[in-house]
Amino acid sequence: MLGTSEASVKRLTVLVRWVAVGIILFSCNLSGFAGPADSLTIQEANKHKVLMLHEGTEPRTLDPQLAQGVPEHHTIMALIEGLVGDGLKSSSDCVPGMADRWEHNEDFSVWTFHIGEDRKWSNGDPVTAHDFVFSYKRLLTASFGAPYAEYLFVLKGAEDYYRGKVNDFDKVGVKALDDHLLRLELIGPTPYLLSLVRHDSWYPLHPKTILKFGRMDERDTKWTRVGNFVGNGPFILKSWYPNDVIEMVRNPLYWDDANVKLNGINFYSIENLDTAERAFRAGQLHKILQLPLDKVAYYRTKYPQLMRIDPYSSVYFYRLNVERKPLDNPKVRLALNLAIDRESIVKNILRAGQKPATGFTPPNLADYGVLDQIRYDPDKARRLLAEAGYPKGKGFPKLTVLFNTMESHRTLAEAVQQMWKSELNIDIGLQNQEWRVYQDTMNKIDFDICRYAWTGDFMDPVTFLSIWTTGNGNNNTHWSNPKYDELIALAARTGDPKKRFDILHEAEALFLSEPPIVLIYWYTNFYLLQPSVKNWYPLALDNHNYKFIDLEASPEGTK
């Protein structure tokens, strides 16, 4: 009996040993190959100068006037160029696009753009100032239903035309003085117009193509399909396989084609970040949009040369419903802000170079700088809470933090919950909802506290501060302060850039003195990039002018 069991133990030991050897060999093999593969795909792509980019979700449309998301913008900007293009090294810079040069009056309220005579559509037609007028008319036609029509409301008379108060488009402040001269008259000084016109909604369209496939105000026409699309950008549409890849090739008729370095770009829509990371490792991508959070530490230590952490113009915060007690009390709101140790959140939870938010507007927006107003100060927080009638958290009602279903939001909310408990002795509940349900709840302002993030569209603090004005559709807190509205309006009338920023600083300081939000952190953009990609500079808006990007054909990667 003893003998048999001894024998079986021995057999078992041998088995375990073999399994162990197998696992070790397998994992060696895996780790050896776990690095970014120098695959044939990437070698060929480098040789032929085809950039393989990862975009998260499938673009809903390639019509710039119907586009809403980041993937749409990144794709469309390869096909269509606006009045000016994005600069190489900073999101604040711009380079000539359809316009060769431009001038403005003293207070930045009237701008004239000289459309270059060599600018052509991809079918050979010249790009004219009239094309811009046509495009803006289409966007401002209410029945068309352009999601970002309001982006053109800085044009004189644009909102009135859109709302049907004026029926004559000639009354709108966009004029083609001749074929190559476009004049924009604005409702007020807009020193940041050159950043604004890089948004999709300001892009020109080829009128004949639009009208060939439907009425001017018709949605859902087929003009954006392969073979139909006419653009004016450095690349043209070659194929479009939804939820897979959009392939583009060089546009020989692009005015600056001599300076375009790539022969093509493939945009891959991969929603699952882990799949994208695997595709990067397999050498199927030059760049992934974002590295899964749990892999940041690994890449940081193992392949720092592949990992990029760039500042990004975005802020993470919690909205507070200021109509609900006790959040109607500014002291309570401030106390909630001061009780959060953002340094610790950034260092221990996020760990990808994010910055603790001390103001609402993130860094890197032109010369605006940041406000250093909200700091971790638990003593003051407790004092404020006591002054508000809740000494040591006594009697503080139970509030709930709402967030959309995602593990990272929960982790963060748990940390905040813990901090509020230990510093202020208040209890907070957590609730998650599916993305659209959560948005619906948020738009109805049916929450106590609700997580959100705001990303800048252009390089000016107004893109952040304007949402807090009374009645703004993105305010969603019920917060309203006439003084704040006045300051934002005053800034919009101020032509002098320095004075304007001073006014906006004052507005933001006022906002932060009775914050209808709880600040958490300023984003970074962390992603993987093959070293063979050249001229990919850190840009706060992450909009890279593809004509500058180059690929190096030499072998690369760590293997």
Binding site: T41, G145, Y162, R163, D244, E271, Q284
Partner: protein, 308 residues
């Protein structure tokens, strides 16, 4: 027989009708709409969009309109793909899921039936325990675990298959359908193996098999000719709906391998509140289920003299 088939096909109409109605009102009852976005749109824009897609009308009118359009195969436009109707989206994505699903189906049958029959014939021996343990593991190991493991192994280590994508993959050995099909096929083969083993064991213990053995019929003839015919009936019953499920795509596998198939449209359409696509995919799947259930019933009848 023909009468039964025609009758079953006629049943399709009320089934689809109920499915359509229930799905329509449930989807409409979920909070949020196709145009609730990260950023609040101008109320006028939302109103325009709702008017364009007919979402501003009373619910019953929307329902009748959808019903009428679907009945005539005039599918309403999708709100998540500009310029495409739900019918076009399904026509674009279904062939991909069909290819993966058919291959997965073959893998499931070949691997599953072989393992099940071998296990049944070698009851309570090593050749029973090994395939059945693996099958148990296969059932317990979800596709979102199996998929990435296979992708790492064949994509990153052996470099035979792409880890993501469908079109324009030039420098890989395997067609991009192989890995998703293997992932799905292995998962289903585990079920098939257990069903096949159970069915075979039951038949093998019956009198007519014993008689055949006593008469000296060679054992391979007994297994292949006599036992498998009845033993695989549970497998056939399972495979009908399983095939419908396989060819309409798997959300998880399509996400793991980033394959642009129908399975992800199914799920994403609900997340996007793309009502036209929700209705399209649900009805499409419903019809497939009914048809393949019928097919498996017919097949069972042909195999099993008792049910004729």
């Amino acid at each position: 027989m023909i009468k039964i088939i025609v009758g079953r096909l006629l049943q399709l109409i009320p089934v689809v009708f109920v499915l359509f109605t229930v799905t329509f009102f449930i989807t409409k009852a979920i909070p949020g709409g196709p145009f609730t976005g990260e950023r609040q749109l101008d109320p006028e824009v939302t109103a325009q969009l709702n008017a364009y897609y007919g979402f501003d009308k009373p619910l019953w009118e929307q329902y009748l309109n959808y019903l009428w359009r679907f009945a005539r195969f005039d599918f309403p436009p999708s709100t998540s793909y500009q310029g495409e109707s739900s019918g076009e989206v399904i026509a674009r994505t279904f062939p991909i899921s069909l290819a993966i699903g058919s291959l997965a189906f073959c893998i499931a049958i070949i691997v599953g039936v072989t393992a099940g029959v071998v296990a049944a014939v070698n009851k309570n021996k090593l050749l029973d325990y090994i395939p059945m343990s693996i099958a148990m593991l296969g059932i317990c190991l979800p596709t979102f675990v199996m998929g990435p493991i296979l992708a790492m192994l064949f994509g990153l280590v052996f470099k035979l298959a792409p880890v993501s994508g469908w079109h324009g993959l030039n420098y890989v050995v395997f067609h991009p359908m192989v890995m998703p099909a293997v992932t799905l096929g292995l998962f289903y083969s585990a079920y098939v193996a257990r069903l096949a083993r159970g069915g075979m064991l039951e038949v093998l213990s019956q009198d007519f098999i014993r008689t055949a053995r006593a008469k000296g019929v060679p054992s391979h003839v007994i297994i292949f000719k006599h036992a498998m015919r009845g033993g695989l009936l549970p497998v056939v019953a399972f495979l009908g709906p399983a095939f419908a499920g396989l060819i309409s795509g798997s959300f998880v596998v399509e996400k793991v391998f980033n394959v642009p198939g129908l399975g992800q449209e199914f799920v994403k359409s609900v997340f996007n509140r793309d009502y036209s696509l929700v209705m399209g995919t649900v009805v499409f799947f419903g019809v497939l289920i009914v048809l393949f259930n019928l097919a498996s019933d017919i097949l069972q009848a042909l195999l099993d003299p008792r049910s004729r």
